[in-house]
Symmetry: C2
Subunit: 350 residues, 2 copies
C-alpha cells in the first residue's frame, strides 16, 4: 500500500538587489508529494522537518555565484538550506536510528527530505523534554554556540570592564550579554523596541536603551569607554563604539545587519581609523564553523544545564507556522521587524 | 663672557587640508638665537639636536585640536615635536650627564632646547660607534621597535605560512619582513620603485614587485592566500589582501599612508566584510606606545647586536640636511617620494 503526502518546499528563485522579496527572491512550492513509506532511501534516511531557523546570515548566501563568500551561495532554482531541527522517519543507514532527533545545518527548506548520511554540521540531538524545540535553533543552536565560542575565544574579559552590545536582544547577543554578566562586566546594550529593552533589563543589562529613541554616541560617551564590543550590526553603532573604545579594546565582529541589504557597496567603514589604531583596538571576525568546534564540548557541558536551571535564559522568539511564511519571515528578519529569533514550525513532533 | 648662536626651529603653522605644504603647514624660523653657555636651565638640561626623523605619523598630529586622536595634535604657532637623537650639552639635573646621548620621542624641531627632565618616551642612548646615528630613528628607533613589538604581539607565525607586506621597504616594514623570514615564512612584498624592490630581494623577500607596474590582486591570487598581512598603507592593497586572506589570517594594521592626506573622509574601508568574517580574520591595530614597552627588553637584547653582526639590516634611508628642509621632507614623505626612511641631520656630533 502506498499513500502520498504533500511535500511543500521553498526554492531560491532570484538574487535580490536589496531586501529579499517574498515570492520573488524565494518561492513557496506545493507541487511536490512524497510517499513516506516507500520513498527510496538508497542506504540513507528520511527526515521530517520540525523547525527551521530564519537566520539573518541567509542573506549572505543570496548572491551571484561568482561573488566570493565563505558559505556557498544559494543556487537559483534549488532548495533553501540552513539550520533546523528534524526527526528521522525511516533509515537504511546503520548509524542513524528511526526516531532520532537531528539538529544543526544542512536542513532543506522542505517538509521531508532524504539524506545519504549526516552532512557536516548536522548533529544527533538528545532532546530534553524540559527545553522547547525552538531552543535548538536559538540558545542551543547556531546563535548560542556562536556567542559562546566567540566570547570564549576573543573577549578576554576582566571583571569590572565595560561591554557594549548593540541590538542586544537577538539570539546571539542575548547569550553574549549573559556571559558578560557572568564574567562580572558592566553591560551597555540597545534594542529596537521597548519590549526588547525590557528583556535586556531582565537579563541584567546595566544600561539598556532603545536606539530608535536614544542616541548611541551620547550613551557611550557617558557610560563608556568600551572594553569589549560584540557587533552584529555595523554602521553607526560600530563607529560610535570604536570612537568610544578603551585602550586595548576587543571588538568581536559577528554580523553586519545594517549593510547586508544595501544596494551598491556593502562595505564596512571605519570612519576614524587613526584614533582606533592609537588605542590598539583589535577587531576579531567571528566565523561560527571555524570557532565553534574548539569550544563545543564546554558549551555542551554548560549551556543546556544552565538553560534548564534558569541561570541562562533564551532570547525572545518570533515563532511562525508553515513553509508558506518562510519568504515573508526572511524579509522581516532582514528589515529588523521580527520580535525575536525567527523560527518557522514546519512539522509537529510525532 | 657670552656669545649667541643661531637656534633655528620649525613651527606648526596651519592645519593642512590634504598634503602638508612647506612654508604654509610648517614654517622654518631663523629668528631665534641662544646663548649656549648661559641659557637658564632651572635645574634641567640643554639638548643639542643631532638627528630628527620625519615620520609619516606626524601627519596625524596636524589636525584641528577638537578632532580626537591618540597622539596630541600639534598646536598652531608651536614647535613641531617628534622622534630624534640628541646630545646633552649642559645639565643641572643630577640624573642627566653632559655628553649623554638621548633618543626617542619628545624632540623639539629646533637646534637646541632645554628640558626639565626626560620626557616620556625619551631614553638614554648607549651610542654604538658601529651603528650610524640615523639607525636610532630607524631600525633602532620607533620603526624598528614598532615592527618588533607588533610582530611579537600579534603575528603568531607558523613556519611555511605566507606573509604579505605592501610598501615593504619602509623602515617599519623592512624589519617586519626580516622577522618574518627568520620565522620561516614565505614573504610577498611590494614597493614603489625598482631600487626598493631590489632591496626587498636582498632582505630575502620571496615575491617582490613594484606595485606601480604590477597588479597586487594578481600577485596575491597567484601567490596567496595570505596568513599574515602587515599593513601600513590601507586602501586597495589592504582590500586585495583581505580578499586573498587565508582562514584565520592575522592582519596587523600599522598605518594608513594612502588615506592620511585625503581631503574629506579618511575612513578605512573594508569592501567585502562578509567573506572576511567567514574566514575569521583578525585585524589588530598596532599602537607603538602601547605595544613597545612589553617587548622592549627582548628588542634591546636582540636587535642592536643583530644589526652589528649583519643578521638584520637597516632599511634604505633618505638623509637630508638642515632644519630648512623639514617642511619639504614632510611633504615628500606624505607623497611617498622619499627613497627610504626620511631623516634630517640637524647638528654634528661634537
Ligand atoms: N559570524 C557568525 O558566524 C554568525 C553566526 C550566527 C549569527 N551571526 C550574526 O549574528 C547576528 C544575530 O543573529 P541572530 O540569529 O541572533 O539574529 P536574530 O535573533 O534574528 O536578531 C537579529 C536582530 O538584529 C537587529 N537588527 C539591527 N539592525 C538591523 C537591521 N538594519 N536590519 C535587521 N535587523 C537589525 C534586530 O534587533 P533590534 O530590533 O533590536 O535592532 C533583529 O532582531 C546577525 O548579524 C547574524 O548574521 C553571525
Ligand atoms: N602604529 C604605530 O604605532 C606606528 C609606528 C610607527 C610607524 N607607523 C606607520 O608605519 C608606516 C611606515 O613608517 P616608516 O617610518 O617606516 O615610513 P618610511 O620609512 O618613511 O616609509 C613610508 C613608505 O610608505 C610608502 N607609501 C605607500 N603608499 C604611500 C602613499 N600613498 N603616500 C606616501 N607613502 C606611501 C612609501 O613607500 P613605497 O614608495 O614603497 O610605497 C614610503 O616610502 C607608516 O604608515 C607609519 O605611520 C605606525
Amino acid at each position: 500500500m502506498s499513500s502520498t503526502t504533500l511535500n511543500a518546499r521553498v526554492l531560491f528563485n532570484a538574487v535580490p538587489q536589496g531586501v529579499p522579496i517574498p515570492g520573488e527572491t524565494t518561492v513557496y512550492d506545493s507541487s511536490q508529494t512524497i510517499d513516506l513509506e516507500n520513498h527510496p532511501l538508497n542506504g540513507g534516511f528520511l527526515v521530517k522537518t520540525l523547525i527551521l531557523s530564519i537566520d539573518p546570515g541567509m542573506r549572505t548566501r543570496m548572491r551571484k555565484p561568482e561573488e566570493k563568500g565563505y558559505v556557498p551561495a544559494y543556487a537559483v532554482g534549488e532548495l533553501l538550506e540552513g539550520f533546523g531541527v528534524g526527526i528521522v522517519l525511516r533509515s537504511e543507514n546503520p548509524d542513524v536510528a528511526v526516531g532520532q532527533y537531528l539538529q544543526g545545518r544542512g536542513f532543506l527548506y522542505q517538509q521531508y527530505f532524504a539524506l545519504p548520511s549526516l552532512p557536516l554540521g548536522m548533529f544527533f540531538l538528545n532532546r530534553d523534554p524540559g527545553v522547547p524545540l525552538t531552543t535548538y535553533v536559538g540558545a542551543l543552536g547556531l546563535p548560542g554556540k556562536t556567542a559562546w565560542a566567540g566570547w570564549k575565544e576573543f573577549s578576554r574579559p576582566k571583571k569590572g570592564e565595560t561591554a557594549f552590545v548593540p541590538s542586544g536582544a537577538s539570539a546571539v547577543c542575548s547569550m553574549v550579554i549573559q556571559l558578560a554578566k557572568l564574567d562580572g562586566l558592566k553591560v551597555i546594550a540597545s534594542a529596537g523596541s521597548e519590549e526588547k529593552v525590557e528583556y535586556l533589563r531582565q537579563i541584567g543589562v546595566d544600561v539598556a536603551y532603545n536606539y530608535k529613541n536614544v542616541d548611541t554616541r551620547g550613551v557611550l560617551e557617558r557610560e563608556g569607554p568600551i572594553d569589549i564590543c560584540w557587533d552584529t550590526v555595523g554602521g553607526d553603532a560600530l563607529n560610535a563604539a570604536l570612537d568610544n573604545a578603551a585602550v586595548g579594546a576587543r571588538f568581536l565582529e559577528c554580523g553586519q545587519m545594517t549593510i547586508l541589504n544595501k544596494v551598491g557597496s556593502r562595505a564596512l567603514i571605519i570612519e576614524n581609523p587613526m584614533p582606533t589604531m592609537g588605542k590598539g583596538v583589535s577587531i576579531n571576525f567571528i566565523s561560527s564553523p571555524l570557532h565553534i568546534p574548539k569550544h563545543l564540548a564546554e558549551f555542551n557541558r554548560t549551556v543546556p544545564a544552565a538553560l534548564i536551571k534558569g541561570t541562562l535564559v533564551r532570547s525572545p522568539e518570533d515563532v511562525r507556522h508553515g513553509l508558506e511564511c518562510v519568504g515573508e519571515t526572511i524579509r522581516a528578519v532582514q528589515m529588523g521587524e521580527t520580535k525575536g529569533k525567527a523560527v518557522v514550525v514546519v512539522g509537529e513532533e510525532a
